[in-house]
Symmetry: C2
Subunit: 363 residues, 2 copies
């Protein structure tokens, strides 16, 4: 079996032992909280990891795009929630084909958008399960809680649709600099969506799933009364941002990048063969400088261009041209999307090469 | 033929008329300046565009990574310069295989790094053409001009190598906020590398190619006495950063992204189905806010997450859920690397789908 010291660099490594512990831990938390786990597979985009999540007890997967759902459905995954306000008749036709094969639900956040899907299903005498997105504070997509009853009622009356749930994503937790701040966001996330579900039920709607998401808030939000489902994604790998947020420890990070020092032109500067094409330019959350941490070394990635990772080297530290280092990325999900394959490792041994099956599926 | 109004969104569009004008214009400039043009193909990673560049008179292509060179060589491109300090025996073996098939040169910037390649070629009784990278002010990789003679002499004495040229990249031009600033960087770029070449020749080394690069500096740097080759990349597409820098006009941008409004939850906010997975989080150069321009509309992309492009909508402007917009990205090169395919269009008509053949080749 090849060693990580022999693979061509840069390469993305997934520590399978850490990965499996992360999967088991979140599954156990969901069981203890009495909620269904529906991990967001955007983090890994891998069939191999999705299967491990289901084997550990996940009810199904969440995905962002129709084309990602197509990849997982074609591989046998039969219960998928597209947690995104999908819009358009062309996407509606693709969802109709998917709904023939698997248990499918899709996000909506407007009457106009929902109608584009409902019309396609109604014309085929079918109904699509949809969930209404609630804005619990991120202010990206979703309806505000006070508007939810009106929008939900209008969507529920559209032909071709069955409104079965509500969902939210408290992504603003990634901006919180203190653990208490993250916990407060999580409580608000759970309570907001549970209160909306209650209001819709009082209005006569049959709301089944009440779904929260995000790795920083998952642990707390899933325990809020009325929440039935949790959709964290990043927890399988974690990254420098999760460590900074206090969501996990460094040892709980499963994804690293092995890179080679290709240049050491000054005592305070060395350059890796891993740049933004390998690590992305996503910032460190909740705040902070740099583009990833060099594990165990006194240097930080101060600047990235596409193929160059520039290290600011601290006094007393030295990097030799040709030596290998391991980098912990700022944001694991976007790294997955940059690479056609990742290497599954245990310790220093490469056990398998996994194809990133749903990489680059933007539609 | 399909229309851009019918394709699944988001999708990357390449305006072939604009592309071909950009290719012809740079080729004409190089002819007028009497230098060879060796475009950096990292911008497009497309065989179809590389072939058009050669047909317009380019001598060969520049690429950043060994694996990218392998893709183009396999497709019949027979003259490639890997403009990157490649390091390691494993890469050396791959370069040896390439050099059996095509005219190949590779960048070096250290004796230690160059030796890892030279040893492989020497063991095969072959010699690899290498060019020494000169740091003309970017302070990323490359040797400082005052160190060039010493390093060049040591590299020239290594077995398995033939030092045939010098090259530089004035990427710091992207930080200049005034056209005169860009012009000054370009002059310095050309003069620095030409002076180094003269010094090496005085030292008895046979230096052939004296190569400059970068789209903002190309026009000026290629006219500097002693420069023999120019390696711009971005000029084929241009992007919002080039427009900001004054390198090109908006009408000279060949790459746009067509996206759909999926949510319009507030009067001052709309959300596109194109986020960082489509556009990247690369900043606008030389400075400025936002993640790309919405062409012809009063709105800017104020925030990106992976699948969401959040528009800050100006008063009086309105976006409807379901409508399509065109986005000019901040940085075209990184957009190419995110997508498996792009659509070649003339006007509103999609003429072809081009596979991004060298996408994701990080090694």
């Amino acid at each position: 079996m090849p060693s990580v010291n022999d693979v061509a660099t840069p390469a993305v490594l997934i520590d399978v032992d850490v990965l499996e512990r992360n999967i088991a831990r979140m599954a156990e938390r969901a069981r203890a909280a009495g909620v269904a786990l529906r991990p967001h597979a955007k983090t890994h985009k891998l069939l191999e990891v999705g299967r491990r999540q289901l084997a550990a007890g996940a009810r199904g997967l969440s995905l962002a795009k129709t084309s990602e759902a197509e990849v997982f459905a074609a591989a046998g995954f039969d219960d998928i929630f597209v947690a995104y306000p999908v819009v358009g008749a062309d996407k509606g036709r693709r969802l109709l084909a998917l709904a023939e094969k698997i248990r499918l639900a899709v996000g909506v956040d407007s009457v106009e958008g929902a109608r584009t899907l409902g019309d396609v299903f109604a014309a085929a005498s079918r109904r699509l399960d949809v969930r209404l997105k609630i804005d619990s504070g991120l202010h990206r997509v979703g309806v505000l809680p006070e508007q939810a009853v009106g929008v939900a009622r209008a969507i529920a009356e559209l032909p071709g649709l069955r409104l079965t749930g509500v969902f939210t994503h408290a992504g603003h937790a990634y901006g919180e600099t203190r653990p208490e701040g993250v916990a407060a966001v999580a409580q608000h996330e759970g309570k907001t969506v549970a209160a909306v579900a209650d209001a819709l039920r009082r209005d006569g709607l049959e709301i089944g799933e009440v779904s929260v998401g995000s790795t920083p808030t998952a642990r707390e939000a899933m325990t809020v009364k009325g929440v039935t489902e949790c959709r964290p994604g990043n927890y399988v790998y974690c990254d420098a941002s999760q460590v900074s947020l206090g969501t996990c420890a460094l040892e709980e990070c499963a994804m690293t990048v092995v890179a080679t020092v290709v240049s050491a032109p000054a005592p305070d500067r060395a350059v890796l063969d891993a740049g933004s094409k390998t690590l992305s330019t996503d910032p460190l959350r909740p705040r902070g400088e740099g583009h990833g941490w060099v594990i165990g070394r006194k240097a930080r990635l101060s600047k990235l261009s596409e193929e160059h990772g520039v290290l600011a080297v601290e006094p007393g530290e030295r990097f030799r041209v040709g030596e290998r280092v391991r980098v912990l990325p700022n944001h694991a999900c976007v790294v997955s999307n940059l690479h056609d394959r990742v290497l599954a490792v245990r310790g220093e041994t490469v056990e398998a090469e996994w194809r990133v099956a749903a990489r680059g599926r933007v539609e």
